[in-house]
């Protein structure tokens, strides 16, 4: 690791000021991606601004039909939260399947979506559930937040503060893990909203990060059953290919995981 200067601001305002005044600052939350990257000398921020303990980024709450999760909420908190489990059990299950116990006890929802690893689970969760992301500057739809591999629309110094989810009629997340890393090779969030619309969001497989499988959404809106997808297939040409899985294999996994998520959603 290259030398860096660590800051632990007491407020969001102080965090923003630190970020504005540093050369090449990075926001640190759980550090589950950033710190290994720094240890391998693949990142060299001049300053680290630790937002992981900010009160403004904490907490899980349910108001009406909206579940709100503070950006610094750790995966294990989401997985174990009675509020989340009551409102959107699929989201609790997704969080409980991220990484391993060490990662779940350090990693945060805000950190995960800001990093936007194309094989991370939360991007599928947010896009599938039609979530809204609030930052230190603005509020935007999750679909507008993610912008390709390891990329978001966040400006320099902009901090994710919370994520809000409309409570769906039903939802389920199914993932097939990479046998080595255990990241998703295909992770699919299938959601039937209270207005009857269906969203299918896929992580781990897309050539450009999380994506919606619109054909599956249409088929499921007509008939919410695994069999409704039998005749469909994902275009392998749009998918990732690596030593663990060809794009053809991933296309198969996307369909299989989608069908299993539909079955699990009931």
């Amino acid at each position: 690791m290259y030398a860096t200067t660590y800051h632990r601001p007491a407020s969001l305002a102080e965090a923003s000021a630190l970020l504005a005044n540093a050369d090449e600052a990075k926001i640190l939350a759980g550090g589950m991606t950033l710190l290994p990257t720094m240890k391998n000398r693949l990142a060299a921020p001049s300053d680290l601004v630790d937002v992981g303990r900010l009160a403004e980024l904490a907490g899980v709450s349910l108001a009406g039909d909206t579940l709100t999760i503070g950006a610094a909420t750790k995966h294990y908190e989401v997985a174990g939260s009675a509020t989340v489990k009551g409102a959107i059990p699929a989201l609790a299950k997704l969080a409980g399947g991220i990484g391993d116990p060490q990662v779940r006890h350090m990693g945060t929802i805000g950190g995960s979506i800001s990093n936007n690893d194309p094989a991370a689970d939360y991007p599928a969760g947010l896009v599938g559930l039609g979530a809204t992301v609030t930052t230190s500057k603005r509020t935007l739809a999750a679909e507008d937040f993610f912008a390709g591999l390891f990329s978001t629309v966040l400006d320099a110094g902009e901090i994710v503060t919370k994520v809000s989810f409309p409570v769906p009629a039903k939802a389920a997340y199914a993932k097939f893990p990479n046998p080595a890393s255990r990241y998703a090779m295909a992770g699919v969030m299938v959601v039937k909203a209270r207005d009857g619309s269906v969203r299918v969001a896929v992580t781990g497989a897309g050539g450009n990060g999380v994506f919606r499988w619109h054909a599956a959404e249409a088929a499921l809106a007509a008939s919410f059953s695994a069999a409704a997808l039998d005749g469909l297939s994902v275009d392998a040409g749009d998918l990732m290919s690596d030593i663990h899985g060809s794009s053809e294999y991933r296309a198969n996994l996307v369909k299989v995981m989608t069908q299993r998520a539909v079955a699990a959603a009931g």
Binding site: M1, Y2, A3, N40, R41, F176, P179, A180, S181, Y183, I243, H244, G245, S246, Y249, N252, L253, V256
Partner: protein, 785 residues
Amino acid sequence: MGVEGIGARVQRKEDKRFITGKGRYTDDFKMAGMGHAHFVRSPHAHAKVRSIDTSAAEAMPGVIAVLNGTQLVADKVGNLICGWMIHSKDGTPMRMGAWRAMEPEQVRFVGQAVAVVIAETKNQARDAAEAVVVDYDELPVVVTTADALAAGAPQLHPEAPGNLIYDWHIGDEAATAAAFGKAANVVEMDIFNNRLVPNPMEPRAALASWDESEDHYTLYTTSQNPHVARLVLSAFYNIAPEHKLRVIAPDVGGGFGSKIYIYPEEMVCLWASKRIGRPVKWNCDRTEAFLTDAHGRDHVSKARMAFDADHKLLGLQVSTVANIGAYMSLFSSCVPTYLYATLLSGQYNIPAIYAEVKAVYTNTVPVDAYRGAGRPEATYLLERMMETSARQLGISPAELRRRNFITQFPHQTPVIMCYDNGNYGAHLDAAEAAADVAGFPARKAEAARRGKLRGLGYSCYIEACGIAPSAAVGSLGAGVGLWESAEVRVNPVGTIEILTGSHSHGQGHETTFAQLVSERLGVGVDQVQIVHGDTDKVQFGMGTYGSRSGAVGMSALLKALEKVESKARKIAAHLMEAAEGDIVIENGELKVAGTDKKLPFANVALAAYTAHNLPAGMEPGLKEGAFYDPQNFTFPSGTYIAEVEIDPATGKTEVVNFTAVDDFGRIINPMIVEGQVHGGIAQGIGQALIEGTSYSDNGQLLTASYMDYGMPRADDVPSFGIHHTTTLCLTNPLGMKGCGEAGAIGSPPAVINAITDAIGASIEMPATPQRVWAAINGGMRAAAE
């Protein structure tokens, strides 16, 4: 004898310090003035080194020295050696290219060291290493075993034309050809054994120092055999004379073979410590471990089996190409020859065997012994062949094996080995019962109702352990003898120190060696201290690998104990005015048989040291040493049965049941043996399902971290059913055969045989979900066509 003797499940004495974080590993040792080393490594798989500019690095903060191969050569540091000479079919010696600890002229694999920076802190060393400018001229690269021998392939070493190190053979070619001539059935297969990375929990490390006042060196290092390291560093690498070098291998966090060898980094630290006049510490990080720890396996084979009309084996022909990597590591030459092809008879009566092995250079990490070392490759080949043959011949896999088992002992195979004892049918029967093979069809049908494919696979393995009779291995080309030593030091108060040349890096010797003492003398294991891993404390010993520490190391200990017991009996007889022949040792006491006369062992020890009243002419003291050279290898064997369930939609394999029935001969501590088998099977399932390296065409190791290299985790393996049958080894005094490698040797073919049974198609290791899915769908397409 006693609750802590042979056969007792004594809890491991060493575990308290390990599980409370009090173990002392190489990195835990610190020395005043210690500098930290960081190596500059080649980013290219094959390149000429045009120049190395260290001037900028030398000016960096905290830098003590920047050294490279030029200075190493100038100081006459020797090239790395290979300790086993193999001769080709034509009688010519193996063709070995030069390997320097830091390469000044031509790098041959990604990660090869070209320079080292030593600085006040680790981070400063790493900073400065980035400032070392190496100008490379890239050369064409060859990565795969198949490509290495191709006409026009890039050439690695001028000493080895065509990248061929040796073209070796064993067995009777004419007799084997004749056997195939009269065969009723011949089964042929191509077999690939995937390249593995050892991944011990503790990466390699070194702390080297030089004491100017005595011109004496000390090296703390992660070694499975510190005396061998000292010998090689002095006699061959010319860094320090043997009597002026202390090698300490303290607690070592796993080895699996990868810590047998003396690597460039440890050599350089020792050499540099004198050159800069300060201690040098080096810690391997995990990426460096992937790039520089000797890899394992990597065989490509063609095999043919000949059967008569009764499905009896007539002959076996094998042709193997072994990928040795870019350089010949310390024992790399013997792994694909004498540790591999000599086991090709397996548990079977095969009248004629002929095997050819070509070893080749490629631009990859050097390959050497990894848990099992040659024997997993032999077992995988043979057991894939037997299972596949049974299916092709229309006979059950168990029946084909039973029909061909060796049942008379001793049994001389056509490939050197002479098996002393075994009962192969016994462990096959036990395994079939324990695995409930009879209930398998019902389980398969039930799985099918859930849309899953179930399969059952066998593996009947044999291995050669207790390595090894010195004269025999010497005649086959080994540069060392493979005996072991022990010394028993009884203290005046009766407590006991055991100095052993074996080295424990996970095996639990501090417990099992103490149990043998407890068995013989009747003292508690807490009265016994096991001393190992320090060349200044322990007499010369050969170290731990090849499942040898029980069969060879404990045999040496037994010999030394017998000498102590003999002297103690003489003293006791003298003190109790009895005949020596009437003295028995029981429960920590020396008793006169048939009387109530007795003396505690501690009193006899004290008498030996006070020397006030010893038999006439007897020397004071109670300390004896012994060297034990085995008469033969030992031959552990067993039957493993794997049951898998496959999700055809994803290709994911779950090992749902795994039954192991091993014959290890005498078992000292069943709990420790079970642990060894658990770990071995986990590694074997890892090899079968997810482990394996992948190189890009230009020689970059794509699987150089746990993001891409599939290490098995707890939920990748089932709860194992571990059982034993016992026939004693007849060639060592305790009847022990060894258990350290069996799990890794026996399990891969069982798992792959189960998968091929489930999907009805062939598959290579690792059988990743993608591969299984492709095999199933390829099979479906083939059936549809």
